[in-house]
């Protein structure tokens, strides 16, 4: 048994799965340790996590108050959906060797396009909803194309451009949102009903959470990501560019054009995140006073998920749980900063995966 375990952990092939698990466990151990050091009870952290993900409230077990709230589960998924998409966005760029810090701005552009289309157009859902989704996706893609094009044409570093475009997106859309008919300084009027992803049925199932049909969009995006990266020659080219751009040029691939396209596709995923926020979660456009960090959370999600499609979903489920549990644990006197420490340290453990891999190989050796 021990020998089997040794063989398992020392085989580099298993490290793809093993190391993220180790990173997550270590992150939580570290978080717990810090709670202990601040003389609090780490149990509250796990209690809050369980309550926010599964809806089970241990405080109410055995009392008259409800011990189970499905609404929390619904709200948990409402938060997980957009960061899954921004995670896919960052991951897609990573696979091509590009760092998309611009998911935030691409999301904002997607949200704006969805808002404008949803307010100006009034058609039945089967026409309007696809239009809104396409419009938001294209807006995100266009915002991603700018850094992609600048990179391909003038070799401008995409990090610099995307950071600046985040601000540009927020301030431009704030200005434009306020010009939409009926807007006040905080939000627009509600979208026409045909543009909404929200669902009375899902709300009813989850006792009035904001859960909406965006999950179908998210699942579709995951499948599309997986298909492009793993099954197509285009995905093969992108991965090759990500690993070694010189070899791809020598092999006659249009590496630069591919870089621009990859950033557009990354932008499309983020734009889609903007769409489901507007037509799913809120139902109206919001004038932002600051970034909401969906895009930056996407970076964390992509890193934890190893830049794969399913990994991004898992990363989002984890990060979503940490975020959703923040208010609950604060109620128990534990600072919400703990959750940030936990996922930051998970990312650090992921970043040192090569070293962890070496340690595992050493541990597995029988001599």
């Amino acid at each position: 048994m021990i020998n089997y375990l040794r063989a398992y952990i020392s085989d580099v092939k298993n490290h793809k799965i093993l190391i993220p698990i180790i990173a997550v466990v270590m992150g939580f151990l570290l978080g717990s340790l810090i709670i202990l050091l601040s003389k609090e009870n780490p149990w509250y952290l796990y209690k809050a996590l369980i309550q926010s993900v599964f809806g089970v409230n241990f405080d109410n077990l055995g009392t008259d108050r409800p011990a189970f709230s499905i609404r929390r589960v619904g709200e948990y998924f409402v938060y997980v959906m957009p960061i899954t998409l921004t995670g896919l966005s960052v991951a897609f760029a990573f696979r091509t060797g590009l760092f998309n810090i611009g998911a935030e701005g691409q999301l904002i552009m997607g949200a704006f396009a969805a808002t404008a289309l949803g307010i100006y157009l009034d058609y039945p859902a089967y026409i309007l909803l696809p239009t809104v989704i396409m419009g938001g996706t294209l807006a995100g893609a266009a915002w991603g194309f700018i850094p992609g094009y600048l990179k391909a044409r003038f070799n401008v570093h995409e990090v610099v451009v995307t950071i600046m475009l985040n601000y540009a997106a927020m301030y431009i859309t704030n200005f434009l949102l306020k010009m939409l008919p009926g807007s006040d300084s905080l939000k627009t009027v509600g979208l026409n009903s045909g543009a909404l992803l929200s669902s009375d049925f899902l709300a009813m199932l989850t006792s009035n959470s904001r859960l909406h049909y965006g999950f179908i969009v998210v699942i579709a995006a995951i499948v599309i990501f997986w298909f492009i990266i793993n099954k197509t020659t285009f995905g093969y080219e992108l991965k090759a560019v990500g690993f070694n751009i010189h070899a791809t040029e020598y092999a006659g691939m249009k590496s630069r054009r591919n870089a621009a396209l990859a950033m557009s596709i990354a932008g499309a995923f983020s734009g889609l995140a903007g769409v489901i926020l507007v037509s799913g979660t809120f139902g109206y456009g919001r004038v932002l006073s600051h970034f909401e960090n969906y895009g930056f959370d996407g970076i964390a999600v992509a890193l934890i998920g190893g830049s794969t499609a399913v990994g991004s979903l898992l990363g989002a489920l984890l990060l979503g749980a940490l975020k959703a549990s923040q208010p609950i644990m604060q109620g128990d006197g534990i600072s919400k900063s703990i959750t940030i420490i936990i996922y930051a340290s998970i990312i650090v453990f992921i970043a040192i995966r090569k070293h962890i891999s070496k340690i595992l190989v050493k541990m597995g050796r029988t001599d």
């Binding site: 020659t233 991965k239 090759a240 690993f243 070694n244 070899a247 020598y250």
Partner: protein, 508 residues
């Protein structure tokens, strides 16, 4: 007999491999001692141990009879061990003196560098060992051979007694090699001791006193060079009989395959390195571009493959003008390319073998249809090539290429390029850094391509390879062809003169 260095029964193990297995190396004071072995034989590991980069698992090191523990390179330096690296570590726009004193600059008042004293000392040392280096010349203005001498000076300036030369002749002309050998002799005459790491037998024979041979991490033996033939040493190195001659018939050149007319190409510094170059390669011949590194070989190859834009002239393949076509169009038109730097251009190291074998054809039927990869077909192709070209790898098609040996990586590239059956095969230093077994195999494959009526354009810096493998040799110097000669009617000396810029059959 006095030994200056004794490395006794050294064993060093890395996960999964014994890099050094009970190796013994003894260097006498004042001798030139060659360390011979194929790639992966454990030469670098042994030298890294001597240099303090690794600790041996077992064994002892003695310097001048005293047992020492070399914990890091600084300790090695303090024992007077210096290394002349294969790739020079020089600052291009510094002068010779500035490079030499880097890190141990002599100071005068106010912390200013005392360049005069240093230059004087450099000049003295240079004179003493007849290195003839100008202490005030900038590195970028001097020849590669002279740069190497600066590396030697660097060691001498630091009072090194034991000099390790790591493959010192890889990038210099035959004449410069002769010069280097004289310098090495002069160094030992002045009491220095030299360890020469190489796999070139002729040089060992010419310059060294004794030779220790390693094979697959094990110590094979030490011989006196004077009593041992090159063939015997080669057999010690590979453990079997080998033939030096490339086995090939006379070439039967056919029509012109590649035709280059009045080509002009700029180098990376936007300087017209190649001017008005014309060249023809025929079907069924191996034409070698020979010359010292940096005389336009890379630029010429990049111009043909499309990686570099051309400024003027034409390049055509089988009568089809390719001068301004994209890389992909040229590939499809029949240009195959074994690149000089296989890690940078030839392979995606983090891809597996199958993905690398598909790098040129991944988008074509049967490997893909309408942009969707056919994984079954791709795997079939990969498995076939692995068998056909005898690519050794742990996990067949799914082996990550980074984990493969250099020889097998090169075989993978050759499999990929030859399998496409290109009319023109460009092989840029196809055997660089490979062991004798792999070199033999690659030469055989190139000759087979030639015999199948393909044109082969070979770029090589190895004199032996140039003379043995090619049918015709074109010598390039500063972007110009100095002359084209038949391989069986020339010799090292004639080629060496042309490489130094003297035209075929003429004086300066």
């Amino acid at each position: 007999m006095e030994y200056i260095i004794e490395m006794l029964n050294i064993t060093k193990e890395f996960p999964g491999i014994k890099a050094n297995d009970n190796v013994t190396l003894r260097l006498r004071k004042g001798e030139i001692h060659a360390l011979l072995g194929e790639n992966g034989a454990g030469k670098s590991t042994l030298m890294s141990i001597l240099f303090g980069l690794y600790r041996p698992d077992e064994g002892v090191i003695r310097i001048r009879g005293e047992e020492v523990d070399i914990a890091n390179p600084n300790v090695a330096n303090s024992y007077g061990i210096g290394m002349v690296h294969q790739h020079f570590k020089l600052v291009e726009n510094f002068t010779v003196t500035e490079n030499i004193i880097l890190g141990i600059e002599p100071r005068k008042s106010w912390g200013r560098i005392d360049i005069q004293t240093a230059a004087k000392r450099v000049e003295d040392i240079s004179k003493k060992y007849s290195l003839s280096v100008d202490p005030h010349a900038k590195i970028r203005d001097i020849t590669v051979g002279m740069q190497q001498r600066v590396e030697i000076l660097k060691m001498l300036y630091r009072d090194a007694e034991i000099l390790i030369f790591d493959e010192p002749t890889a990038t210099i002309t035959p004449q410069e090699i002769d010069e280097l050998m004289k310098i090495m002799k002069s160094l030992v005459a002045h009491g220095k001791s030299i360890l020469l790491i190489t796999h070139k037998l002729s040089e060992i024979k010419k310059v060294s006193d004794r030779c220790s041979v390693l094979r697959k991490g094990r110590y094979v033996g030490t011989v006196d060079t004077i009593d041992t033939t090159e063939k015997q040493m080669a057999e010690m190195m590979v453990g079997r009989e080998i033939s030096f001659k490339v086995d090939k018939k006379n070439s039967e050149p056919g029509d012109v395959t590649l035709s280059i007319k009045n080509l002009s190409v700029k180098n990376n510094r936007k300087f017209n390195l190649i001017n008005n170059l014309s060249l023809e390669v025929r079907a069924g011949e191996i034409l070698c571009i020979s010359g010292v590194d940096g005389n336009g070989q890379s630029e010429l190859v990049e111009a043909i493959t499309g990686l570099r834009k051309i400024e003027g002239g034409t390049i055509s393949l089988c009568g089809k003008d390719l001068s301004h076509r994209s890389i992909r169009e040229r590939t499809l038109a029949g240009v195959g390319y074994i690149p000089e730097d296989r890690h940078k251009h030839g392979l995606v190291l983090d891809f597996n073998l199958e993905e690398n074998l598909a790098l040129q054809t991944y988008f074509q039927a049967p490997l893909a249809k309408r942009g969707i990869i056919d994984f079954d077909e791709r795997n079939k192709m990969s498995e076939r090539l692995i068998d056909e070209f005898d690519v050794r790898c742990n996990n067949r098609s799914s082996t990550i290429v980074r984990s493969m040996s250099g020889g097998n990586q090169q075989k993978a590239i050759i499999a990929r390029e030859i399998d496409r059956s290109p009319a023109l095969l460009i092989a840029a230093q196809p055997t660089r850094g490979l062991d004798i077994g792999a070199i033999e195999y690659i030469h055989k494959r190139l000759v087979e391509e030639r015999d199948a009526g393909k044109a082969v354009l070979l770029i090589s810096f190895e004199m032996e390879e140039v003379l043995n493998l090619s049918d015709r040799i074109a010598v390039i110097y500063e972007g110009e062809i100095m002359g084209i000669v038949d391989a069986d009617k020339t010799n090292e000396n004639e080629l060496g003169l042309m490489m130094a810029g003297i035209r075929e059959g003429g004086a300066l």
